[in-house]
């Protein structure tokens, strides 16, 4: 009996094509939770201008889906968050596969080339450069799967990201103040209504990583720790008291949600990071099993489509 096996090359090509599809899903179809929250905001707002703005957002989503166009022209900095099982057979090939898939997706979807050389100002043209696409790793023990989430993080909302190491005395109060102040100062610049994330940890980069992780959580989903969940609710209400509203037209929906992720801190530090996602909060997730089966938990309808 001859055992039929997929060759390593075929397998890698399959992951690459699945990643191109993942990027397409993120660029074209806003996640369902974000879309529902925007629809709710449209139904809730009363003012003519507010409604006009939110209507344009909803019309835009419909056109993007119908015509398979990127819903926003700023297809962002491409950020991959990889949870890879220690026994996933192609772990070592993933960085190359993700970079190649990014270049191919840029051409085929197409995405906007957004990678610029710091020294010369030149655009690389294919969304690939040093540390772009960004790949964030988490290794999962006793697993042979890979779960890959991509975020297309636009420049306008990233421009207000902040990180600051507070004193323990400033603590949680200081962290919440940073959230409210960021939302107030951002005003209409970050394409509100926004998803706003707070990360807390021992060092600047841990806090920033927590904040980015918080941005990936679906709208309406609370932190498992009830104490953190309560802070999320309170911060959301506080931001929506400010009154900027959709695109700064004035109104009660400045934020769609607030998410908080907390790591332990150092006795002397209380590092906080606030990150904002525009309403076009594009993210998509795929799972690849060790035998090459691909699923899209965030975009189930794509599993039926064979061709990208």
């Amino acid at each position: 009996m001859v055992e039929v096996r997929t060759s390593p090359h075929e397998f890698e090509e399959k992951i690459k094509q699945a990643t191109v599809k993942l990027l397409m899903a993120a660029a074209v179809y806003l996640p369902k939770d974000v879309k529902s929250a925007l629809e709710e905001a449209y139904n809730k707002e009363k003012g003519e201008l507010q409604k006009k703005m939110l209507r344009a957002i909803l019309d835009n989503l419909e056109i993007a889906e119908r015509e398979k166009r990127p819903l926003c022209q700023d297809t962002g900095a491409i950020l991959f968050y990889v949870k890879v099982g220690e026994k996933f057979p192609y772990m070592g090939s993933l960085p190359r596969i993700l970079r190649e898939a990014t270049a191919e997706a840029t051409e085929r979807i197409p995405l906007r080339p957004n990678v610029v050389d710091v020294m010369t100002g030149r655009n690389t043209g294919n969304n690939v450069g040093k540390y772009l696409p960004w790949i964030d790793w988490e290794v999962i023990p006793n697993s042979d799967e890979a779960e890959i989430t991509v975020m297309l993080k636009g420049g306008g909302s990233e421009a207000v990201s902040m990180m600051k190491v507070l004193t323990p005395a400033e603590g949680l109060e200081g962290a919440l103040k940073a959230v409210v102040d960021t939302a107030f100062e951002a005003g209409p610049k970050t394409c509100p209504p926004n998803i706003i994330a707070l990360g807390i940890g021992a060092t600047g980069e841990i806090a920033a990583k927590m904040a980015k992780r918080a941005l990936m959580r679906p709208v309406g989903e609370r932190h498992p720790d009830p104490a953190v969940a309560e802070l999320e609710e309170k911060a959301l209400r506080a931001i929506n008291l400010i009154g900027w509203g959709a695109h700064g037209m004035g109104g009660s929906t400045t934020a769609l949600d607030v998410h908080i992720e907390v790591a332990e801190r150092h006795p002397a530090t209380f590092a906080v990071s606030v990150m904002v996602y525009c309403w076009a909060a594009r993210r998509a997730t795929m799972k690849v099993s060790a035998d090459g089966k691909v699923t899209y938990p965030s975009h189930r309808f794509l599993e039926k489509e064979v061709v990208v």
Binding site: C72, Q73, P110, N123, G125, E173, A238, I242
Partner: protein, 199 residues
């Protein structure tokens, strides 16, 4: 809420009729101009060189598109606005020197731009940020592109648009600024927000 249809070139008289909060749908020629484009334009003018297009009475759009070339013609795939505040450093001079009548972007602009709008008869409008697919639908043709060496987002694209909108007037030719007024109006809410958090 008042709604207007405008066609380029726009006269000073037409632009002075508009007030903050008005909605505009624009037909005609629009030039994209972002950070690098503004800088290059002003550098060219400083050297006494002629820009590749005539901006007089025209609209500029703070936008870096996704474009695709199909049968030798450019096609706009996604084309929503970028954050305008980055162009604040340049916009007064651009309005003064090349006679731009309408600046389109998102997120608002500052005092110098408002001053230029008042002095030279121009306005600043926003198109819904993130609405790239909707924006692209209004672009009927892309007749030319200049300064492609700046990269696809930063190049100067010439766009023929039809009923491009809704555009909302944020700074009018009297120098009124919708976002400045909104900020003043809601400033007091900040205390309320702190209080709700026990700060």
């Amino acid at each position: 809420m008042r709604e207007f249809k405008l066609r380029t070139p726009i006269s000073e008289e037409e632009i002075r009729k508009l007030s903050i909060g008005d909605i505009v749908y624009l037909t005609g020629t629009v030039y994209t101009l972002r950070d690098a484009g503004h800088k290059r334009l002003l550098e060219m003018l400083a050297r006494g060189e002629k820009p590749p297009v005539n901006f007089e009475g025209m609209a500029i759009y703070h936008m870096g598109p996704i474009m695709r070339k199909k049968d030798g013609e450019w096609e706009a795939i996604s084309a929503g606005p970028t954050t305008s505040t980055r162009m604040e450093a340049y916009e007064y001079d651009v309005i003064e020197k090349v006679g731009v009548r309408l600046v389109i972007g998102k997120g608002g602009m500052g005092k110098r731009t408002a001053e230029a709008c008042k002095k030279f008869g121009a306005a600043y409008a926003i198109f819904t940020g993130g609405a790239g697919a909707l924006g692209a639908k209004a672009i009927k043709r892309v007749p030319a592109v200049y300064w492609y060496d700046l990269g696809e987002p930063e190049a100067l694209w010439v766009l023929e648009v039809e009923d491009f909108g809704p555009l909302m007037i944020i700074i009018d030719a009297n120098g009124n600024n919708y976002y400045e007024q909104m900020r003043e109006k809601i400033k007091g809410n900040l205390e309320q927000a702190y209080k709700s958090l026990g700060i």
